[in-house]
């Protein structure tokens, strides 16, 4: 099955396509047989002894044995450990309710900030933007966000957003921006200096030296979604010449 999955990497698959174990290629009397382990990521589900595709997209592979479906989506479903940009909607007692674009609002405790104690409360108001990561995110429980990592340090998370523009893009573009060695990020950094916060829920926050530049960067990122690499580089070059 590992070989069958490997053959299909890079192909477009639809929900309902399945991969099943073939007993022929695991039994061998001459060579020693290693147990194959396949780790399935988002978009692949196990039902009995078969692996079924449940989202339409491209099958991707990462060494040594991880497979997942790369699908284009706009709606975010929370997953543990992912960092997102949320908007604080209410403050009830010791807990803030944060809207991150999912099916329900996440809770953020006031103690989950760096250096926060019962006497030293963080300065968070309704309507603030927070950059936080999911501590609890499964389908059965209310999601919970925190602004500190395991050792108690903020690590870039917390309240932000004085000035700047928040806008939405698709989840696929966000993953492309956050991939190591991303071309879009390197092209953007050569354009003009700006502050960029990328939330995995499809929200981006940009702040550049002037309002016009902020708008230019946000328009560029929103239009990057449907462009091929050459079209994008051309567009960036045109903008660089026009802005200077």
């Amino acid at each position: 099955m590992f070989s069958r999955l490997k053959n299909k990497v890079g192909e477009v698959l639809l929900p309902g396509d399945e991969f099943c174990f073939d007993t022929d290629d695991t039994i061998s009397l001459t060579e020693s047989v290693k147990a194959e382990k396949v780790v399935c990521g988002p978009g692949l589900r196990r039902s009995g002894d078969r692996l079924v595709v449940c989202k339409s997209g491209v099958l991707r592979h990462k060494q040594p044995n991880v497979f997942w479906m790369d699908a284009q989506q706009k709606r975010y479903v929370p997953a543990k450990g992912e960092t997102v940009i949320g908007i604080v909607t209410t403050k009830s007692g010791d807990v803030f309710k944060v809207d991150f674009g999912g099916s329900e609002q996440a809770s953020l405790s006031y103690l989950a900030f760096e250096g926060a104690t019962k006497r030293n409360r963080p300065n968070v108001q309704v309507g603030d933007l927070v950059f936080a990561q999911f501590l609890i995110a499964n389908k059965d429980m209310e999601p919970e966000l925190v602004c500190i990592d395991g050792s108690g340090r903020a690590n870039g998370m917390g309240v932000f957003g004085a000035g700047g523009l928040l806008f939405m893009v698709s989840l696929g573009l966000v993953r492309r921006l956050l991939a190591p060695g991303s071309e879009i990020m390197s092209d953007l950094s050569q354009l003009f200096p700006c502050e960029l916060v990328v939330g995995m829920n499809g929200r981006l926050w940009v702040k550049a030296s002037s309002i016009q530049r902020t708008l230019i960067v946000s328009n560029l990122l929103q239009s990057c979604e449907n462009m091929t690499a050459t079209q994008r580089r051309e567009l960036f070059k045109r903008v660089a010449q026009g802005a200077l």
């Binding site: 309902g16 079924v52 449940c54 989202k55 339409s56 706009k74 099916s103 389908k139 059965d140 091929t228």
Partner: protein, 236 residues
Amino acid sequence: MTSFTCDESVSLCEGNMMEVCGSTDSCLREFGCEQSLLSRPDGSASFVQGDTSVLAGVYGPAEVKVSKEIYDRATLEVLVQPKVGLPTVKERSQEQCVRETCEASLLLTLHPRSSLTLVLQVLHDDGSLLSCSLNAACMALMDAGLPMSCLFCGVTCAIDADGRIITDPTAAQEKESRALLTFAVDSTERKVLMSSTRGSFSVHELQQCIAVSQKASEKIFQFYRDSVRRRYSKTL
């Protein structure tokens, strides 16, 4: 993917430009679809079969009212908007058919206490409306990235006064027919997920229509595969 009207004379079957013929072969009208055409919904698709055209938009998984939430599954709501006027009882029965098909193929247990909303707008009705709505719904659900266990498609058969089976009938053919049957077929085992019928027919005719629909569904599933492949070809 453009669609253009076929005239009523017999023409060669090439690619997916097929004329409706009077034999029991499964000939379908030309169909076309487009995904992600609306910017607000999480998934959208339009499906065109001959002159019948339906636009579908999907929102979800989103917040649900406490009165409507189900503790272990997502709540699926389907709304069918006719071309003219307010929705009537006929639209309500179409909503029920589409909802039952979608609930059979979506993995609703992955999003408990959320709501999925599917809105179908009828742009033009020239026969086979329910099957066109089912096809548009399936493409929109795929576009939204909702987890599904299988795909589904809709096929309509009409039995005319002489007993011949016509697949994908136009509105004129539907009016002349003595029975009209619509089936939703699933992609993994070609089983019937939903059937909606009007008129009188024998058991033998029913089984023939099911067989013809299953054969026709293969073309539609191949078309789904080709359109999704074309869509992802830009980013590959």
